[in-house]
């Protein structure tokens, strides 16, 4: 590996040292989330998977042993709504249906927010297109393997998604003029909530025609005819995948009326909404959401930041949960993603969730929503070793993440981070000094 000196590279090298090895985390309070809490428990990591859990776990002689006495081990935190590490724009907001664009193409693995997320125990993010249009871009689930390439961060086995958006954001583009400039801006359909609904219905009608066109072509080819092949359409292909159940819909929404609208359009068109994102008025239609089988990924106690977020309540999580909706709490933010454990804790205050129920909001529940709960989201034998070691109970305001493992690799270590800071400062100072000593060498200044 021929890497230069930069923080990213150094961290990559450090990360590379934490090779796939056998690790025993000993004597921790193990918060499995799904199987209760084990006091003075140990977890054995082998080949990137959780190999054993219990009070008495023996490890091979060459295993790295982490003494976690007095510390808390929980599953890696999962964020079902993130815009971290997107390069060159979160929205392709120029069109009302931008399903041809794909977040997978623009993941920036050098975004420092990945590392900052890790430092808060975050291990998986559902990276979404923005909410500027009714049907936004394709989305991707990434593991925060800091130091690796974008390709290596993409989580294998996680179904890709597509972003939908309802309400104020997608219809905002319909106003004349731009909020930011006096220059006239091309009005973009739609300008109303009705229009948002129509865009979704229209696009899926097109997608069905497209599906039929290809079906007919393939049948004609099979009959030995020589038809002209139809054009492949990157906008419609992901929608066909939605119809075929190969791609999840993550829909940004606030109001209960439009939540119902979306569920009805989906039923009519024959596809499923996998998650309702934000869904601040989800509590009003929790029964209907549960009946459709959609999950809800909401905020803990953030509301009133826009008109359609006025009629919200921090009890939203608890109410939806008790109606049988799989609920998660998300960040939608580079900052919030660093302490999602504390966001989850708020639901204990508002709605009396148990510790396990609260932790589930940022672990097994988002895993279920993303269809990856067979791999991650709890501490169970056979699951990927995505683990976070906290110094105190993670639902405490005073807790700090000490170590983070993804697939058994240690990607964050608080002590090492603190230790390395003066070294990075020194290196940076050297670079600055060098530049000051030799200013602008490529431009003659005689």
């Amino acid at each position: 590996m021929r890497r230069g000196i930069s923080i990213g590279c150094l961290l990559a090298l450090l990360a590379a040292c934490a090779c796939a090895q056998t690790t025993l985390i000993r004597n921790a309070t193990v918060l499995t989330v799904t199987k209760g809490t084990i006091e003075n428990g140990s977890v054995l990591i082998e080949n990137g998977k959780i190999a054993a859990i219990g009070k008495n776990v023996s490890a091979p002689a060459d295993a790295t042993v982490v003494d976690a006495t007095g510390k808390y081990l929980m599953p890696g935190i999962i964020d079902c709504h993130s815009h971290t590490a997107i390069e060159g724009g979160v929205n392709e907001g120029t069109v009302s249906d931008s399903s041809m664009v794909n977040i997978k193409d623009v993941i920036d693995p050098t975004d420092i927010n990945i590392y900052r997320g890790l430092a808060g125990g975050l291990t998986i993010s559902n990276v979404l297109h923005g909410s500027a249009n009714a049907i936004g871009g394709q989305t991707i689930v990434v593991k925060l393997r800091w130091g690796k390439s974008a390709q290596e961060m993409i989580m294998q086995g996680a179904k890709p998604g597509i972003k939908f958006a309802l309400g104020e954001n997608p219809k905002r583009q319909g106003y004349p003029g731009s909020f930011f400039s006096a220059a006239p801006v091309e009005r973009r359909y739609p300008g109303t909530r009705m229009g948002v609904e129509e865009v979704i219905r229209e696009s899926f009608t097109e997608a069905k025609n497209y599906q039929a066109e290809w079906k007919e072509y393939n049948e004609r080819v099979a009959r030995g005819e020589h038809p002209i092949p139809p054009r492949r359409d990157l906008r419609l292909e992901p929608l066909v995948e939605v119809l075929e159940g190969k791609r999840y819909v993550h829909a940004h929404c606030y109001r209960s009326d439009e939540i119902l609208m979306l569920l009805r359009v989906a039923d009519e068109m024959g596809f499923k909404i996998r998650t309702l994102q934000h869904a601040l008025e989800g509590y009003k239609v929790a029964k209907e959401i549960a009946e459709h089988g959609a999950g809800a990924s909401t905020f803990s106690d953030w509301w009133s930041y826009k008109i359609e977020a006025y009629d919200a309540t921090p009890y939203n999580v608890a109410i939806m949960m008790r109606h049988g909706v799989v609920v998660s709490v998300n960040s939608d933010s580079d900052e919030l993603q660093r302490h999602l454990n504390l966001e989850a804790a708020k639901s204990m205050r508002y709605g009396d969730l148990t510790e396990d129920q609260a932790l589930a909001l940022v672990t097994i529940n988002p895993a279920k929503q993303l269809g990856i709960d067979d791999q991650v989201g709890s501490i169970e034998v056979g699951k990927s070793a995505d683990l976070v070691l906290f110094d105190q109970h993670p639902l405490s305001n005073y807790s700090k993440a000490l170590k983070v493992w993804i697939d058994g690799h240690e990607y964050f270590d608080r002590e090492r981070d603190l230790e390395n800071r003066p070294k990075f400062d020194q290196r940076k100072k050297e670079l600055l000094d060098k530049e000051t000593a030799n200013p602008k060498p490529a431009v003659p200044s005689k």
């Binding site: 890497r3 000196i5 060159g88 724009g89 120029t94 041809m100 091309e186 020589h226 492949r232």
Partner: protein, 478 residues
Amino acid sequence: MCKNEEICRACDWTMDSMKQGLRTSGLVLIVAVMAVAEVPSAIAIKDAHVVTVSGADLPKATVLLRDGLIQDVGPNLAIPADAWVIDGTGLTVYPGFIDGLSTWGIPGAAATPARTAAGVAPTPAPKPAATPSASEEPPRHGPEDRPQNHSFERAADMVTPSDQRLAAARAAGFTTAATFPNQGIFEGLGAMIDLAGARGRDMVVAQPIGQQILFRVSGFGRSGFPNSLMGNIAYVRQLFLDLNQYKEAQQMYEAHPAGNRRLEYDHDLEGLAESPRLLLPADEEQQIDRILSLGRELKHPFVLYGLHEAYKRVDELKQAKVPALISLKWPEKPKDADPSDIPNYRDLSMRQQAPAVPGMLAKAGVSFAFYSDGLDTAPDLKKAVKKAVDAGLSRADAIRALTLSAAQIYGVSDRLGSIEKGKIANLVVMKGDAFEDKTTVEYLFVDGTEFEPSKDLQKPPANKEREQKPAAAEGDTN
């Protein structure tokens, strides 16, 4: 400079005519060109140090030029009676330098900004009287509207010897450029041009040599697809799918016209189909990864340009066997930076390490060339290459990158890029080693026509505040 007074006089006369011809236009130009025809058709540069690039260096040899071609090169050549003789004692002859990705010759085209080579560049602001810009077009609603698509336009049709930057480029030793129109996302078909000629069409050595793609966003207050990096990528991907379908449908129609509807002629796709290679932007490490994977997906030969952070991706580039065009506009501390701003670590590293990229790629055996990227004065270009040499690139490899490698990348090394019998007589004759401060370009030959670049153009401007760049009157960057 010439020992032979007669030749000297003849040279002066020719040069005067040429200069006059370049300065004025129309009729005078034609007269000047006709006058050139009277010049003896052979020139011998004797007793010079000849850097052939393709073969061994010849410490004392003669290069014989005739009819715009290199007739012969070697020690102890018999000099024909009709040849002008230039005494090359103390001089070094190199193949003329090639700008690997240029706008030289197209006066209206500003160069591609380096730092945005693989991020997203703003769409240039509309120029009132110039070519219709993207903003004047109706907003585009998706790839099917082919926004900012100039794939079918040809640099060969746009180049003109009246571009004032050509004189400065020649003063830096450049005789040739891979020129692309700087417009839109699909920029058009490039041409390999010689940096002199009576008319634009006389300058074209080969075309089309490729299609440059630059990711652009329409920006705040503007509208129209695409307005994000992912939108640009989806657009490029869709167009190549369309191209495949177009070709397949054409074949199918040709074989079975009866019963099938005839196909629409699509010049956007014709332009793509005609591109022998794509030039794709990639400056930073993650961009290099991304574009390598996109390029493979498109199943079309491609070249990367930018590469300032390629010091982190040397092995990947080597494995990919994809040629690289390295921007000579090294990242630098911004001139008007806020003194209280502390640059981030990555930018600092890039500023320090980018010039080491050429040396590292040379050691790894990656094929690369340089491109001017908006630098258009001789001192700037020289300093920029020197910076790479100071950072570990051998002088020979620097020369190779500026000559034979550039020709190879564009598939024209059979006619350009080295001093070999039969190749086009594009040469630069220097006093001193290339890229050194005191070195001057004494003669320059483009298609065998001799130039004596002005020494003024080769000197850095005297003022501390840089004077009006003589060559950048039009098409200045940014």
